[in-house]
């Protein structure tokens, strides 16, 4: 290493120093500490007690609430991410036209996604889902003529409560839409022209040009949105007063971790839950990477 190179490396590490401190003290260290804690019993006040695999054993074999929370989280993830994906691609394609005033549409669709994860909007949706006087049931009965009393009870109903959360999350499709829109604009128009000359109709063009061209963006979005929906918390906490009701039907993993750690002070058990959540997210991402042959990278052809 020449002295100029050494100098550059030293200044690089100076630039990086905030990140390195964070990496050690607020990321790497805590991950390991949480791993260690997950084999302990600890309520903060009394000394830590090493219990081996007991937390994991209890979680897997004696704790129905863990399974419920896992089920609810996976249910929410599957049924919010996939429809959200389809919907945001559809909106992006509709939006990708030369129409006057399209930027107003873009803003209208995008804005809710900026607000969607906040407490204020969760309160708004709690009111929209109100079974007797909420906007949603009024709209349903207005359109279908079903009396309001026969409409779903949404947040008060064990089956509908999770679906209410999903509807709420679909209000935020604009976030994905913006990214797909950028992706669509990156697909060269020459590809469509070539496809048209080859006699491909719109539908065939969609599957042979649009989807492959968009696939790296879809892949990125899929991974990120699965990671974030595994972490749903604020909306559930606000809507259910931190309980995850009715009858644990909206108890999601992060809410359960929060309850165990900061309501019951079972820090060890909560750490074990957090680690299982971590592993579940890693597993989901790994599966996606493993089956990512469908993702088409334009650059690969140029090798």
């Amino acid at each position: 290493m020449t002295s100029a190179e050494r100098k550059e490396a030293i200044s690089a590490y100076v630039f990086l120093s905030p990140f390195l401190i964070w990496m050690v003290f607020l990321m790497g260290g805590p991950i390991l500490a949480a791993f260690f804690l997950s084999f302990c019993k600890w309520d903060i006040l009394t000394p830590i007690q090493f219990v081996g695999l007991q937390n994991y054993k209890e979680m897997l074999f004696e704790d129905p609430r863990f399974w419920k929370a896992m089920y609810n989280t996976v249910y929410f993830t599957v049924f919010s991410v996939l429809p959200g994906l389809a919907l945001s691609i559809i909106v992006a394609i509709l939006m990708n036209q030369k129409i006057r005033g399209i930027s107003i549409f873009r803003a209208i669709y995008y804005l809710p996604s900026v607000l969607a994860t906040g407490v204020a909007v969760a309160v708004l949706w709690k009111w929209i889902f109100n079974a007797d006087s909420g906007l949603l049931n009024y709209a349903i009965s207005f359109i279908t003529r079903i009396p309001i009393s026969e409409c779903p009870k949404w947040l008060a109903d064990e089956f509908w409560s999770k679906n209410a959360l999903i509807i709420m999350s679909l209000w935020g499709v604009g976030g994905g839409m913006i990214i797909y829109l950028a992706g669509l604009q990156g697909i060269p128009t020459t590809l469509y022209e070539a496809a048209e000359i080859d006699g491909a109709n719109r539908w065939q063009q969609f599957w042979a040009v649009t989807i492959p061209g968009l696939s790296p963006v879809i892949f990125f979005q899929l991974i990120i949105s699965i990671v974030t929906s595994f972490q749903i918390f604020t909306q559930v906490y606000t809507i259910t007063d931190g309980l995850g009701g009715p009858a644990d039907s909206t108890l999601v993993m992060v809410l359960y971790i929060y309850q165990k750690a900061f309501k019951y002070y079972q820090m060890g058990y909560a750490s074990a839950l957090a680690w299982v959540l971590f592993l579940a997210i890693m597993l989901a991402s790994w599966v996606q990477f493993k089956y990512s042959k469908w993702v088409y990278y334009e650059g690969e052809l140029r090798k």
């Binding site: 550059e8 690089a12 590490y13 630039f15 905030p18 990140f19 401190i21 990496m23 003290f25 990321m27 805590p30 500490a33 949480a34 804690l37 909106v91 939006m95 036209q97 129409i99 549409f105 803003a107 995008y110 809710p112 900026v114 994860t117 906040g118 407490v119 204020a120 909007v121 309160v123 708004l124 949706w125 709690k126 009111w127 007797d132 906007l135 009024y138 207005f142 309001i148 990214i179 797909y180 950028a182 992706g183 979005q221 990120i224 990671v227 972490q231 918390f233 906490y237 606000t238 992060v254 971790i257 750690a261 900061f262 820090m267 909560a270 750490s271 957090a274 680690w275 971590f278 991402s285």
Partner: protein, 301 residues
Amino acid sequence: MSDMTATALPDGGFWASKRRTEKYTKIIVVILLSLGAITMVFPVIWMLSTSLKEPTQVFAIPPVWIPSPPHFENYSKAWTISGMYASEGITFTNYTINTMIIALSNCIGVTLSASLVAFAFARLRFPGRGPLFVLCLGTMMVPPQVTMIPTFILFKTFRMYDTFYPLIVPAFLGGGAYNIFLMRQFFMSIPYEMDEAAKIDGCTNFGVFWRILLPLCKPALTTVAVFSFVYNWNDFLNPLIYLDSNSKKTLALGLTNFVSLYGQDYHLLMAAALIIVIPIILMFLAGQRYFIQGIATTGLK
């Protein structure tokens, strides 16, 4: 493109009909988008309308869309009661100030430190750059709940529980993988000749960063700043864990307390919720042009 082909093949009835179908497609697209836009906007109109009602109108079916007279006093009422410890002299004013302090400090911390770190990743050569960057991206997969408990204990040991420090300090330490990534992508889109020219003129690395590249990064910096502001304005879990005394709570915490106390007074709840949402909407409208572009740069890579 369709115009060109149409003029190139003037006599084809096929092209004329193709142009007509394109016009119909556009009309259908506008209709579909409008229907969607109505669905997007209705909840907000509903929120606004409810916030101006008197209590007896709130539950009326069919709903009263335009309350007359509008009850603007719901807002002042919400503002004072929602600080549910109004008896202790705590109102929404306190919550707003607290939230502002936290969100603005985060804005400053995140933009500064994320761009510093991103500059090193984008422009400087040093051993371990590749693996470190992969590690950095990898942290995006780590759910914050894994680090939450040990971090909480760390801050508690340093006697920072019930202060703003745990909510502000991390922002100054790198600003998070996503922001680092976004800034790095942006730096990489700026030609390296800029740096070289500045270095020949005697600029240090920091000089290149501060005087040459940062001023060119305004769209990316705006994106990062707006996102971190909105994130912290809305953040709930961290303040919930770290803040205890009522005088230190944020708007998000204040609103949830308000909900658990006045859960059925939807006219007041909606007024309070709107008060919280309005700054974000304004911020969005102000920075929209910049950050829609900014997100586009990350989404693609």
